[in-house]
């Protein structure tokens, strides 16, 4: 078996416990069904491209992006825990290189991100199946969004985990950052109708791009804005990944 596969195997074993899986499924479900239906009273319909979506369909697709982002926290947590519990040094004094360690984290996030996306798509499907418009772009768009989104958010979590010293600090920072990403985005409510400051802020947030691309894939609506968003998300993922790699490879032992 290749070194990276062995490390990915190990990463998945240590991170996939019952608690995490439940959190990854139950939490979005609560949002989709409880919030989805409760907020329908406030937000009836959301204009999207050339059609209008029911709010439950809107939030269910938003949760796909939200879930990808959440699952990539794992990457930060793996690095953080490896440093805190001495496994980072132990792995690097074993038959592995730093590059392999970093790549194995990327693959781990990629896998968890894709699986999360697939899971929420399956769970949320009953809510948006009436409005889906699958076409040739659907799968490429969703897969692109999942992978570049997971690398981008995984890199952010990794960067945070290499910069901080105390575990209280790590939890506070990572929760604050991800809470901001979650709620200042188009995952839960559309940019149209939000106050101008907020809707501008939405577009300083990579989760917005991720969610917009997923929706474009699922509801069959592709335009210049979505293409631009893809470029921004892709470039952002590459840049942040390079920064994370640089920081990780400079980490003192």
């Amino acid at each position: 078996m290749h070194e990276i596969i062995r490390l990915v195997n190990r990463n998945l074993t240590i991170s996939l416990n019952m608690g995490f899986v439940i959190w990854q499924i139950i939490f979005p479900l609560i949002y989709i069904f409880v919030a989805g239906f409760a907020y329908t009273a406030l937000i009836h319909q959301v204009p999207f491209g050339n059609k209008t979506l029911d709010y439950p369909a809107f939030i269910a697709t938003g949760m796909i992006g939200f879930n990808i982002m959440n699952s990539t926290l794992i990457s930060g947590i793996i690095i953080w825990n490896d440093r805190r519990h001495g496994m980072f040094e132990q792995i690097l004094v074993g038959p592995f290189t730093r590059a392999q360690y970093i790549l194995s984290n990327v693959y781990t996030i990629g896998i968890i991100g894709l699986v999360s996306a697939a899971m929420i798509t399956a769970v949320g499907y009953p809510l948006f199946f009436k409005q889906v418009e699958f076409n040739a772009l659907t799968i490429p768009l969703v897969v692109f969004a999942s992978i570049s989104g997971s690398i981008l958010f995984g890199s952010i979590a990794s960067i945070i985990s290499t910069r901080l010293k105390s575990s209280e600090g790590f939890n506070v920072v990572i929760n604050t950052v991800f809470l901001f990403f979650a709620f200042v985005s188009t995952a839960f409510y559309p940019a149209q109708g939000a106050p101008p400051i907020l809707s501008t802020a939405f577009y300083f947030n990579p989760l917005t791009y991720l969610v917009d691309i997923v929706r474009a894939g699922i509801f069959g609506y592709f335009n210049g804005l979505v293409a631009t968003e893809m470029v921004i998300l892709g470039v952002g993922a590459v840049v942040l990944f390079l920064v994370a790699t640089k920081l990780l490879s400079k980490l003192e032992l």
Partner: protein, 309 residues
């Protein structure tokens, strides 16, 4: 053949020189003890030898491989138990051994057998299902050391492996290591516990302030530095006797708490006679008396003290 061959190896952190141009040679199939006080540079040396950190200068050859040019090739052939604890908090004891073997690409069947063997050898069978997070410090250390034997290696680095272990676990570990050496393994071992070094090591180097100040077999070190013996005399009541004994030549005398006199001398017989005479003529009764050969510990203390002076 030498498993480790090092010439003027150095490491600095900023202006501070942690390891200052050391030379080392470790023979294949031997247990090499690396001793030194806190902050002497033991761990730093070990981190360089295991290619975890790059040296600032010098040459090192590990298992015939250039340590600067091919660190990965070396890491594939060595085992390392670092001083710093390391564990997978969410995994059970047996699972963490199993996964560690997997990371080293050990075949599944062999892995299974080794897990059983190690759980037994390191007295972990009762806690095999416990999560590492829930273990005591000593239990965790045992898992960490046991884990390293999941894979094959030619050379094993142990940085104070017995810290936190109870006496029976410690002895069990040392004997397990000895057994592995019989099968051809070479060991580089650091410790503060001198009896451990004496029990285990074929050769010993003492490092202080980044420099090696003595290298030899435990026996030779004792011969060289330890011809002197230690005499302990308990007198029955507290008396001011330092002025009485100050005339005795060829010895150093310490007065602990006024009733215990500790004398070190290489002419111990003569010195003992002189002291007893003086005590008798001053009517000071002796309660208890012992003469012991100087331990490795005392050699260690005196060698380090001399090098600090």
């Amino acid at each position: 053949m030498y498993c480790i061959e090092v010439k003027s190896l150095s490491k600095s952190y900023g202006d501070f020189v942690a390891v200052d141009g050391i030379d080392l040679k470790v023979e294949q199939g031997k247990i090499f003890g690396f001793l030194g006080p806190n902050g002497a540079g033991k761990t730093t040396t070990m981190k360089m030898l295991t290619t975890l950190i790059p040296p600032n200068g010098g040459e090192m050859n590990i298992l015939g491989i250039d340590g600067i040019k091919s660190p990965l090739e070396i890491r594939k052939k060595i085992g390392v138990v670092l001083q710093q604890p390391s564990y997978e908090p969410t995994l059970s004891v047996e699972k963490s051994l199993e996964k560690y073997g997997m990371m080293w690409n050990v075949e599944k069947k062999i892995r299974k057998d080794r897990v059983e063997e190690l759980l037994f050898a390191f007295d972990l069978a009762d806690i095999r299902k416990k999560k590492n997070d829930d273990l005591s410090i000593g239990q965790r250390r045992r898992v960490q050391v046991a884990r390293e034997f999941m894979h094959d290696m030619e050379l094993l680095f142990l940085d104070e492996p017995t810290v936190g272990l109870d006496p029976s676990a410690r002895r069990g570990l040392l004997d397990y290591v000895k057994g592995k050496v019989k099968d051809g393994l070479t060991i580089f071992f650091t410790t503060h516990i001198l009896e451990e070094a004496e029990y285990l090591c074929d050769d010993i180097a003492i490092i202080n302030r980044g420099k090696i100040i003595a290298v030899d077999t435990p026996g030779e070190l004792k011969n060289k530095f330890g011809r002197e013996k230690t005499i302990k005399i308990h007198i029955s009541e507290q008396k001011e006797i330092s002025s009485l004994l100050s005339c005795i030549p060829d010895c150093t005398i310490e007065y602990d708490s006024g009733v215990v006199i500790t004398v070190r001398s290489s002419q111990s017989e003569q010195v003992l006679q002189d002291i007893l005479k003086i005590l008798a003529s001053n009517h000071i009764p002796v309660e208890d008396l012992s003469v012991v050969p100087t331990s490795l510990e005392e050699i260690f203390l005196s060698v380090v003290k001399n090098s600090n002076a």
